[in-house]
Every structure is written in structure tokens, then in C-alpha cells.
Symmetry: C3
Subunit: 212 residues, 3 copies
């Protein structure tokens, strides 16, 4: 499916840009920028494939993925250096779109491996968010995903929509489109109205000499 | 073996609870709580299976693992919110028991793959502790395991006991039981009397402009 | 190839020493020292093998790797405790040599799996640097590699030299030697003259209530 493949590469580029921007906030060198961009863009899918035993992974099968991630990273550095600042809202919308595409791809791949529904949803979410989690861990931050507006919840919803339509036998282009729109709608609404899940606050009442 | 399978699920629930509590200390949202719970409970076994090429991993083969982890996470949030505080000592003992079960399972799986003894011990320890290490890394803390009372050392001992009895041809239920008791005895003694391994203190005498 | 295998074990020992020293700076206990040493020495190759589906991984196939890493860790603790301080320059040179060997091994393994050139380079760099990145993440530091003198760039150059000579049909000992010398020359020059790649500084102008 050509248009879906184009969406996939678009998602790789967008995620690579968010990785490059985070690397820039940490004043990394140019190599660091490229590595963080590649990990952000391709880490989620690689983790999914290693756990599913789905080999070869995307960027080994097809070197266009690495090329797109590297070009997006270089483009980000050049853009920030010589041009206007990043358009934050545009980036958020693009990121939501990449998230939607990655979630659907992850769920698809998992269903092709005949996994239970719970595992298919986890694979969808993992494909969407694990690259960003790796980016944040390497940059020594608590992953944003656990703190910000409904992000992975949008992935769960989109993944469930895709699974439901898949088992109903809906034509493939339609189920992909509806699942992507589900993720996009939830994520954009969360951004627009600052929606979030309730937090679980637990005071650390543990005395300093405690065993745990 | 039904009773050992029940022990396994019990370990999953206990580890999920420790993950949910850590997520609460970091004020994560409900999705973050569930993710950290799942990673803490199932991350060690998943890492072991990816390295051993032992597919499909447990929670893909059987969706009860995810269900137990999610229910334990939700139960923790509800419990902390509406009921009494966590019984710290009870949790420590339950955690030691889960650690013992996971260590034995990891060693068993490794032996079934005909690995050297050193790798079987590492797989046992990895199954027992890697989930907690992932939890601590994502929550941006130096993993507790490297700082606290004899924890992984108990896993090493239990793993070696299991390997020894396995090669001696002891009946399976007996070797499992003795290995679990070994881990439990060492870990509970360490908790009770605050035992720890010697530390390796190295002052950082490196000048700030150093290359390393 | 016996001499190259000896180089490999030498690299394992050197990387284990850097891991043990970092664990000492964090005052870890003896178990933590051994774990960090093993992860630093063998983590890069293990990650590469899991992604390439190259099983069994080195330390499962051959238990000498774990033995060397553990002995190097114990030797480091004993040395620091009872003898003179670490010879920093000697360690840097040894580390550069280990980096060179690991990079060539990673590239070799990838080429045997018929991957695209971009993936072979990534596998070479990953084998050389991922163990150190894991060490730094577990010890809660932003990985040094992204901040210091040309390190991974040396791996990229060595990997490309090896790939070029490999496709030219140069005899194997010669291509390995030239690739190792490439990494060594670049890395030692970077250490000697404090060379570095340009940094990408991005001020964080994001307001605190931002969505991203």
C-alpha cells in the first residue's frame, strides 16, 4: 500500500525531528543528534520486532528508513541554525499523525503474528511510544509520556478500533483510516483542551533507612 | 505444574504492585502506572526470552500475565486511595517470594536451551531483577538493586542451587522448592539484619576537562 | 582467527574495567560492580545479536566472555583498593583499542547477515558504543558518548573502511587491521588534541505549561 508506506516514512521523519530537538536541548554533538533521532524514530518498531521475533527489522530490510531519519535530523539542525524557530503547533500535529500511523502498523504486525488482543494492543502502543521513551531515558529525563496529556491512551483506543474493524472484516484501507483518525482525534482534543488522565500521587513516607 | 504456575502469577502481581507504587511516587498518570507495573512484572522475562531467542514470550503466549499485572496495578491505586497504607513488611516478603520464583523460572528456561552454567545463572538473575531495574531507569533513579541489601546475590545462590540439583537428577518439585527456599532465606535474612555486600567507593578524582 | 579472538577478549576486559570504575564512582556494592562490568563489556554485542536475530549470543555460546568480564571487574576492585591509582591515559588507549575491535566485529557480523550498508555501519557503531551507553543510563548519567570527543565518529569511519575493503575483496586479516587502525588513529587524535564535533545548542524556550 503506497500511501500507507508514505505515511510511515512521514512518521519516521517527524519522530526523528522530535529526537533531534531533544538532543539539541541537551547540547549534544552532531553525532548524538543523529543517534537520538534514529532511536526516537525507529526504536519502538525495533523493540516490537525483537519481542515478536519479526526479523529482519524494518531498517535492516529497507535502508530508506535510516536515510529518512538521518536527513530529518540534519534538516532540523540546519533549520534551527539558519531559519525561523520550530512551529510548535505544527510539530505537535505532525507528531500526533506519526503516533497514529506507528500505532496502526504495530497493531497490524502483531495481528499477523496471531497474538492475543492484549498483546496486539501493547505492540501498537509500544510501536507508537517506545522510541520517545528511549529518547527521554537516554537524555536522562522521566519519559514525558507518563506525565502529559492523553498520549498513549490515544494509541490504545486506535489500536482497539483497528483490531475491532479487522475482526469485522472491514476493507483494509478503511480500517487503517478509521484507526488513524481515532488516534488523531483523541490526541488533538487532548492537546487543544489540555485533557489528562488522573494522576496517582503517592507520598514517599518511607524512612531513609528502609529496606525497600 | 499448577502450583508453580500459580506462584509465577503471584510473582507477576507482586512485581506489578512495586511498579505501581514507584509510579505513584513519581505522580504518574493512570496509564503510566499500568505501563510501569507491566514492565516491572514482565520486563525481566521478556529480556531473557529476547536474548535466548525463546519465542513467543510468556505474555504473548498467554494473556493472563498482562491481565494479572493490570489488575494488580489498578488494585494498588484503589487500595492506596481508599484504604489503609501499604504493609511494607508484607510487601517485602511477597517481593522476596516473587524474586525466588522468577529466578528459578529463568534458570529453568535457560537450562532448557542448553546454555553454559554462567549464562544460566545470569538468566536466572536477569529474570528476577531486570524488571525492577527497568522500572528504576524509567523513573530516573539509580537502580535500587545496586545499592541495597543482598538482593541479586540471593538470586545467584538460588540459581546455583537449582542448577546443582538439576544436574544431580533430583525430582523437579524438590529442586524448585529448595531453590526457592534458598532465595527466600538469604533475602529475608538480609532484610531482617540489614546485611549488605561491601561497597566499592571510588572517589572521582578526574579533573573536569578530562577526556574520559 | 586466534589473534582477533584474543583482541576481542581484551576488548571485553577493558570495557569491563571502565564499567567497574563507573560503578565504583557510584559506590555500588560488589554485585553491582560485576553487573555493570558485564553489561558494559557485553551489552553492545548482545543488543546487536537480538536485533539481527543472531543466536546464540556470544556469551551464551562461549562462557569465556563472562569469565573475562567478571575477572576484570574483580581485578579492578582489588587494584584500586590495594595498589596504585588507575593509569588514565593507558585506560583511554586500551578503551580506544577495544572500541576498534568491537566495531569491526559488529560490522563483520552484520555483513554476514546481508544487511544494507547503513545497517552494517549502525551495527558496528552499536557493538562499539551501546555497552557504554547502557552503563551510563543505569548509572543515571547522560551517556558520555554524546558529549565527548569524537568517539562514535571513529567507529563510523572504521566500519566504512572495513565495508569498503570487504567489498574490494582484500584479504581478511588486512581489512580487519586497517579498520582497527582507522578507529585507533581517529580516536587517539581526538583524545590528544581534544577534537570534537560541533554541538547543537537549542535553548529550551518552551513555556512550562506547554503540551509537548
Amino acid at each position: 500500500m503506497t500511501w500507507f508506506y508514505a505515511f510511515d516514512l512521514f512518521g519516521v521523519a517527524v519522530f526523528a525531528i522530535t529526537g533531534a530537538l531533544m538532543a539539541g536541548r541537551k547540547s549534544m554533538d552532531l553525532f548524538g543528534v543523529m543517534v537520538i533521532a534514529i532511536i526516537t524514530a525507529l526504536g519502538g518498531g525495533t523493540l516490537r520486532d525483537a519481542i515478536l521475533d519479526n526479523h529482519p527489522v524494518s531498517w535492516i530490510r529497507n535502508d530508506l528508513y535510516i536515510l529518512v531519519a538521518v536527513l530529518a535530523a540534519i534538516g532540523t539542525v540546519v533549520w534551527v541554525r539558519f531559519t525561523r524557530p520550530i512551529h510548535e503547533t505544527g510539530l505537535l500535529v505532525a507528531d500526533a499523525f506519526g503516533l497514529a500511523v506507528f500505532t496502526v502498523i504495530g497493531t497490524q504486525v502483531a495481528l499477523q503474528h496471531d497474538v492475543p488482543i492484549s498483546a496486539a494492543v501493547i505492540m501498537g502502543v509500544m510501536t507508537g511510544v517506545a522510541g520517545g521513551v528511549m529518547r527521554d531515558i537516554i537524555c536522562n529525563e522521566i519519559p514525558l509520556i507518563f506525565h502529559k496529556e492523553i498520549y498513549a491512551t490515544a494509541c490504545i483506543a486506535g489500536s482497539l478500533v483497528y483490531i475491532g474493524l479487522y475482526y469485522l472484516g472491514i476493507p483494509e484501507n478503511l480500517d487503517i483510516t478509521l484507526a488513524i483518525l481515532t488516534v488523531l482525534a483523541i490526541r488533538l482534543a487532548a492537546i487543544r483542551w489540555h485533557l489528562g488522565l488522573p494522576r496517582f500521587h503517592l507520598l514517599d513516607r518511607t524512612p531513609p533507612n528502609d529496606d525497600q
